[in-house]
Symmetry: C3
Subunit: 314 residues, 3 copies
């Protein structure tokens, strides 16, 4: 593996899950692997779980970690090719990516979708530019289109909790006051396609995700019907993809509650808005897996770092 | 010890002081204790000494440290129970505290008083919420009501410097242009109550601290008289507690100078405003203990971290 | 060596260059030297290369690193002597420098020129105050007047690349939309004076650097003529020194292109504005040394840290 940009970089999901569980049982087992290696984590957006779990994962591997909030600590970056840089941006990603590669053995980049322009977001200019110009491997810490470390933690959590061979897993849209990106939903759908599960998506009409990602996944517009006999309910808000970046529906009826959940396990990537996305009673119940998902972020990140370190050592 | 939230968590002050002095003589003596343990330091307010000394203490113990400015780097937190989170706050402390506990073996929290509403500040909502929902031990890095790492450093400093068995120690209010919290003064008074000293408080009328904290400590409104034959003068500004958060007096006559100080040692938690709280000549004299207090912050923090690590290991 | 404040602290440039190259060949050779030593990096301005390369250098030496953005994370500092601190500034550098010295074995300070007042900038109040009041050694991470870590990386890069004994090196001014400090240009000229090279400076009239720094270095106002048969072209913008801090000329004819460069190597400290300072074709060619300069920042910093650690150990 050269980079971890999306779940498409997973060559064998069963092997990855097995290895992640071994790491979770003994997080310090590869402590020597990362000695004198440096992970750089570079944030163009806020982060709590991704920042801390990836830092923790690197420390479990014995790596050094350097963290920067790009805009605040460093220089505003230019990503366009051929620009005359006489405005606010002081440095081009061509230099930045090559320079970071001098100091870091692995580079993590977080750069959210702006939700203003679909084509622009789909170019994933920031992530792709670092990938293009850096010589060090790149880890996607959430880009415009995907959040593959989250999806990996999610699938680890599901395999730990599933009671039957082919569980029914429902990805349900839920309301949110602000326009949110599609990255988490996209990566969850994509990793489900690598897994033997019965996936169903439910959302109000007009909230269809990119059909190139959902492919033939069934969509059920009636949330109640969709949730029936679900084993796992993964809840997430996203803004419209068709009417790009719009919030067309804040219908509180789509909020998840205990009744709708039935006997299913509740999943969410966090941060979650209580009593908007999901009612308190769900999060405070033993059916909620959100804290274990957050915990598994460490082992997902550690697995990816381990593979990248091993690939470099070859 | 499960947490270090206030000086009331000190079970035996003499033992603590003895152990802190051993650490100071040989700061690396417990280097193995913290190996592969992670301290998370989370700031809702600025910090210089607390941040650096606690990080240094953790490194002396061989711990890993992760630091975040909560608002800037992460998400705005909701602390109220049962809220419909459809406004600015993206994450509830219930999740945040549990999530941090997945990544950190010990969690430090700094959250100052807002000085708008006495009842609210006295709830210590931020600190107490982390305490309530985190499974990892919590260290108070200064809360609305107390600054117990500072108080511990202060008492270590006093025991190092005292010439007589029961020194006269005066806590003197001093003027300041802005409204400041009561935390440092509170914790200093509280730790003095655990110690054999002759404590006297002096301040202008109306600046009485919470009587549940000062208890029967004598108050002398005449600063000059109060300072007479003092061995230690601990100087600090605080806003009114009665007229909560108000600055009612900026009388420069309350500033400490060499003449008032006499032969006493001068103490302050820093940062200190020169020629407002105290004149240059005092800070630049050998009677000032402020730098040694700052130095002892490391050993105070290291003592607390050591005890918490040992308690976890049991 | 007690501090590294400017290239004047270099006692023997040939020895320094030799030692830096040894470090570059084996960056972990002094891993034990920094064990249990702490480097504090304190920024009053943004930083990418300086922050990461110095952190990396310290980790190569086995040191612990603590980093703070002074204004954001800590308290606004007062630098004037004798002030009545009743305004915005909460802490005096006298305390801050002494306090940092309690926690750090070596202290790095970045504080740019403000370019408002020549005399003020030339006092280098921030750097000099830390030097005056800190007991720990100080490293200049770029001050008003100089950037000696950059200059050291530059000379290492030149010695690696030079084909002839006494190369022709041209320092060329280039246009920039904002007023920039003189620090990089100053330190480059100063380190050239310690080196056997044929240095020439070219810039539009009115952009003369401080003559106390350039001394008898020849100046050629015709850029084309200046660049003729150059072996290295070091390009940098700076604002006027005579008309202090003014941008008097943004003549795009001064931009460097491949034709002007000829067979010379191109150098710049970064960040660089593409197609303003230099055209894309130069930066994207094999004649550009900018990434190797950035890489050598690590070894320059590591050399300085090593010398300071060794000096402390004596």
């Amino acid at each position: 593996m050269k980079d971890y940009l999306s779940v498409n970089d997973i060559n064998s999901l069963p092997n990855w899950i097995d290895d992640a569980k071994k790491i979770k049982q003994n997080p310090l087992m590869d402590k020597a692997l990362g000695a004198n290696k440096t992970l750089g984590l570079f944030f163009f957006n806020n982060s709590l779980r991704t920042r801390l779990s990836t830092q923790k994962a690197a420390m479990n591997l014995g790596m050094n970690v350097m963290i920067m909030n790009f805009g605040n600590d460093g220089w505003d970056l230019e990503f366009e090719d051929g620009t005359i840089m006489d405005k606010g941006k002081a440095e081009h990603v061509k230099e930045a990516a090559q320079v970071l590669s001098q100091y870091c053995d692995i580079i993590g980049i977080r750069a959210f979708a702006l939700l203003k322009n679909k084509e622009r977001d789909e170019e994933e200019l920031i992530l792709k530019s670092f990938k293009k110009y850096a010589s060090a491997p790149i880890i996607n810490l959430e880009s415009s289109l995907s959040h593959p470390l989250q999806a990996l933690a999610d699938i680890i959590t599901i395999t730990e909790q599933q009671q039957i061979k082919i569980p029914k897993i429902v990805l349900s849209w839920a309301p949110h006051p602000r326009a949110l990106p599609h990255a988490v939903a996209n990566s969850f759908v994509e990793i489900m396609h690598l897994y033997k599960a019965n996936l169903l998506i439910t959302h109000p009409p007009g909230y269809e995700l990119d059909p190139r990602i959902t492919k033939n996944t069934p969509i059920e517009y009636n949330q109640k019907q969709a949730l029936e006999k679900a084993d796992f309910v993964y809840v997430k808000n996203w803004s419209s993809y068709i009417d790009y970046g719009e919030v067309m529906n804040t219908d509180t009826n789509w909020m998840i509650n205990l009744e709708k959940l039935g006997k299913a396990k509740f999943m969410h990537c966090l941060p979650v808005r209580r009593n908007v996305i999901v009612e308190d009673a769900v999060l405070d119940s033993s059916q909620s897996l959100v804290i274990e998902q957050a915990n598994n972020r460490t082992y997902a990140a550690q697995l990816v770092l381990k593979y990248l370190l091993e690939a470099k050592a070859e």
